[in-house]
């Protein structure tokens, strides 16, 4: 029997759903195994019911979102968080510095703050190839594993010259790999969109960034862009 799937967005830019839509010509093959019951961006008829797999995009920032999320959790077998907003709170969580808007929770967070998450697909936006691999795996009962190596490994593998050595700010040393060092490969510093590795050497990176003349305030901004809500235990030097 086909596995039923629902796709649900919360506070986000819906860019990750767009990656799924872009996959559609390839998804046709996956649709042999799965049946998409809920995907409001792409279809008129959407049924919220018990799903085998629920895919959740976006951060949680209102009480209503918590309720909806809890209901989705209750109704689904496997719950997948896609994109950094759903995993860590991502960009929307940067607002936690200031006051929220009316009706908003004190803090915007990833969905893991409120419900149990079975697996994460990281990145901003997600890599569509990775999404296809994970969803195909889940359809046949295989769970993906978390990556905990830094982007530097991928730069090494691809023989990309180190940007930090050239004086370009880069979060590669503390950021989870999996993107194939996409940003460094075009000469742009990694912005940390897959979240920090578990044993991230933040102190060393901060020192290096200061050495190449990056303003302290800018360094803080870099560290917090995608990891606003994980900083308290991870940003200890």
């Amino acid at each position: 029997m086909k596995k039923t799937v629902g796709i649900y967005p919360f506070t986000c830019c819906e860019g990750c759903q767009l990656q799924i839509l872009d996959l559609w010509d390839k998804l046709v093959e996956v649709l042999e195994f799965i049946d998409i019951k809920h995907f409001r961006m792409a279809q008129e008829m959407n049924v919220e019911e018990k799903h085998d797999i629920a895919i959740v995009e976006g951060a949680i920032s209102t009480r209503k979102e918590i309720e909806d999320l809890k209901r989705i959790r209750k109704n689904s077998g496997i719950l997948v968080a896609i994109g950094e907003c759903a995993v860590t709170g991502g960009i929307p969580a940067i607002r936690n510095d200031g006051k929220g808007g009316k009706g908003m929770l004190k803090k915007t967070t990833g969905i893991g703050e409120h419900v149990k998450v079975d697996c994460n697909i990281r990145g901003c936006p997600i890599d569509k190839g990775e999404f296809l691999r994970v969803i195909t795996g889940l359809a046949v009962g295989r769970m993906p594993y978390d990556v905990n190596e830094p982007v530097c490994m991928e730069c090494n593998n691809k023989e990309i010259d180190c940007l930090l050595l050239k004086g370009i700010p880069c979060m590669g040393p503390v950021t989870c790999a999996g993107c194939g060092a996409l940003c460094p490969s075009v000469g742009t510093g990694c912005e940390g969109c897959r979240g920090m590795t578990e044993d991230a050497g933040l102190k060393q990176l901060k020192d290096r960034l200061e050495e190449i003349g990056i303003d302290r305030k800018m360094i803080r901004n870099m560290m917090e862009r995608f990891s606003k809500e994980v900083k308290h235990d991870k940003h200890k030097d």
């Binding site: 967005p9 919360f10 506070t11 986000c12 830019c13 819906e14 860019g15 990750c16 759903q17 767009l18 990656q19 839509l21 872009d22 559609w24 010509d25 046709v28 649709l31 409001r40 961006m41 792409a42 279809q43 008129e44 008829m45 959407n46 920032s61 209102t62 209503k64 979102e65 991502g90 960009i91 929307p92 940067i94 607002r95 510095d97 200031g98 006051k99 929220g100 808007g101 009316k102 009706g103 908003m104 901003c124 936006p125 004086g167 996409l182 940003c183 075009v186 000469g187 742009t188 912005e191 003349g213 990056i214 303003d215 305030k217 800018m218 901004n221 862009r225």
Partner: protein, 431 residues
């Protein structure tokens, strides 16, 4: 009294609902209820360095990420007094045309077409209309490929910088783009023919148009904002327009001189049709449109004609770039060092696929943003949407509820509202 409430409109970007109150033959209330939570982007951007805003604001919207990214860069350049070389401007234009191609293809084929053909979604059409579905994917991919070749990836660009690019496509990549654009032109023309062939509901309501105007060109990245008959200086855009909060919406509503105005493809076609590319002009002539056109349903025809323009224009722009080497950006640290003391204020208005997009920044002497303001196309279109729903509804009364809802949804979808964009803003106040 009949009340109709749709909690979630399908096939638009983001969460929005609709609330209608009808008494006899009179429509008492038509409200677009925007329930998506706001994300306070203007707050987030303040305290960030001038070159961080482009990557943050890109995350306002996954569909027109490229527009936010470039508008943010251009506003920062305006503030810092940076005037990038002509080739950078052309490369950016080619890039944004790729963004338009993917956005228009997405709207036309995935959101609008199933309505016209009586399907629930594009995927359901795969068996009956394989040619349309294949063309949809080819056009979407064409736009994505241009974004990836110039911008590094289709969503949330990575090569774009203040003053230029970190990397530009090589000679081979450019010829691959040109080849696929030339092939894609036929698909775009077929699309324009397809959308011109559909019967649109007979409905008209006059309202001012808002679009950039540029002498001798169809407005894309640059031009002067014109609303109705009024020219507005880019830097004054926020001052001259009025933004209002509504208690039922987490998006703002924008007006000009107390009047609504419509932005987007139909507004642009009405004001700048003279400057369409040759093939787009031919498609326009073959369509039934006579200008001025005030039927919002025709926005889909206008969008399809623009798609042809984008493909043809993108070829022209790419071929006109003299030296790709000129496009490499200066080091942001040298830009930051060259900053003068005191405050820098800058703004930019561009045409995004859905209409005029405004970014404005105050940047201090150290290069950090102290205040920002962003006005998105969808918040400018909210008054026209609500008022069109209210004016169109009476002609639909007496039809079965399901049919009525579908027609209203089609009307709203013709504006291609992007709720993610509309709810990016600062603060929600309940009136």
């Amino acid at each position: 009294m009949t009340s109709i409430k749709i909690d979630h409109l399908a096939k638009i970007y983001g969460h929005a609902g609709l609330e209608l109150k009808i008494r006899g033959k009179r429509v008492e209330r038509a409200r677009v209820n925007i329930t998506e939570s706001s994300r306070l982007f203007e707050n987030m951007v303040s305290g960030k360095r001038f070159d961080e805003a482009r990557r943050l604001t890109s995350r306002i919207c996954g569909i027109c990420a490229a527009s936010h990214n470039l508008t943010s860069i251009m506003a920062a350049e305006d503030a810092l007094g940076i005037d990038p070389p002509e080739d950078v401007r052309r490369m950016r234009e080619a890039l944004i045309l790729g963004g338009w191609i993917q956005s228009h293809a997405l709207h036309l084929y995935f959101l609008a077409l199933p309505d016209y053909l009586g399907y629930g979604g594009t995927l359901e059409m795969a068996d009956d209309r394989p040619n349309d579905v294949d063309r949809a994917f080819r056009l979407k991919k064409l736009g994505n490929d241009i974004l990836a070749a110039i911008g590094g990836r289709p969503t949330h660009l990575i090569t774009t910088q203040i003053g230029g690019f970190t990397r530009v496509p090589g000679k081979d990549a450019v010829s691959v783009m040109l080849k696929s654009l030339k092939k894609g032109l036929k698909d775009a023309i077929t699309t324009a023919g397809l959308f011109s062939s559909f019967d649109q509901p007979e409905y008209e309501r006059e309202k001012p148009f808002g679009a950039l105007a540029k002498k001798g060109a169809y407005p894309i990245l640059t031009g002067t904002p014109v609303i109705g008959h009024h020219y507005v200086d880019s830097r004054d855009f926020a001052k001259k327009t009025i933004t209002e909060d509504k208690n039922y919406s987490t998006s703002k509503f924008v007006s000009f001189n107390g009047e609504e105005f419509m932005v987007g493809p139909l507004a642009r076609l009405n004001t700048s049709h003279r400057y369409l590319s040759p093939e787009a002009k031919a498609c326009f002539r073959r369509s039934d449109l006579t200008l001025p056109d005030h039927n919002p349903f025709n926005a889909n025809v206008a969008r399809a004609i623009e798609l042809v323009h984008c493909v043809e224009k993108c070829i022209e722009v790419l071929e006109s770039i003299r030296s790709r080497g000129n496009c490499i950006a200066p080091d942001p640290r040298s830009v930051a060092k060259a900053l003068k003391r005191g405050m820098h204020h800058g703004a930019a208005v561009t045409e995004a696929p859905r209409g005029m997009l405004y970014h404005e920044y105050d940047i201090n002497g150290k290069g950090f943003i102290t205040r920002s303001n962003i006005i998105t196309p969808t918040s400018q279109n909210l008054y026209p949407i609500e008022r069109d729903v209210k004016a169109f509804l009476p002609s639909m009364l007496g039809k079965p509820k399901q049919e009525l809802i579908l027609e209203i949804e089609k009307l709203i979808r013709s504006y291609d509202p992007c709720i993610s964009c509309a709810t990016h803003f600062l603060d929600v106040r309940f009136v």
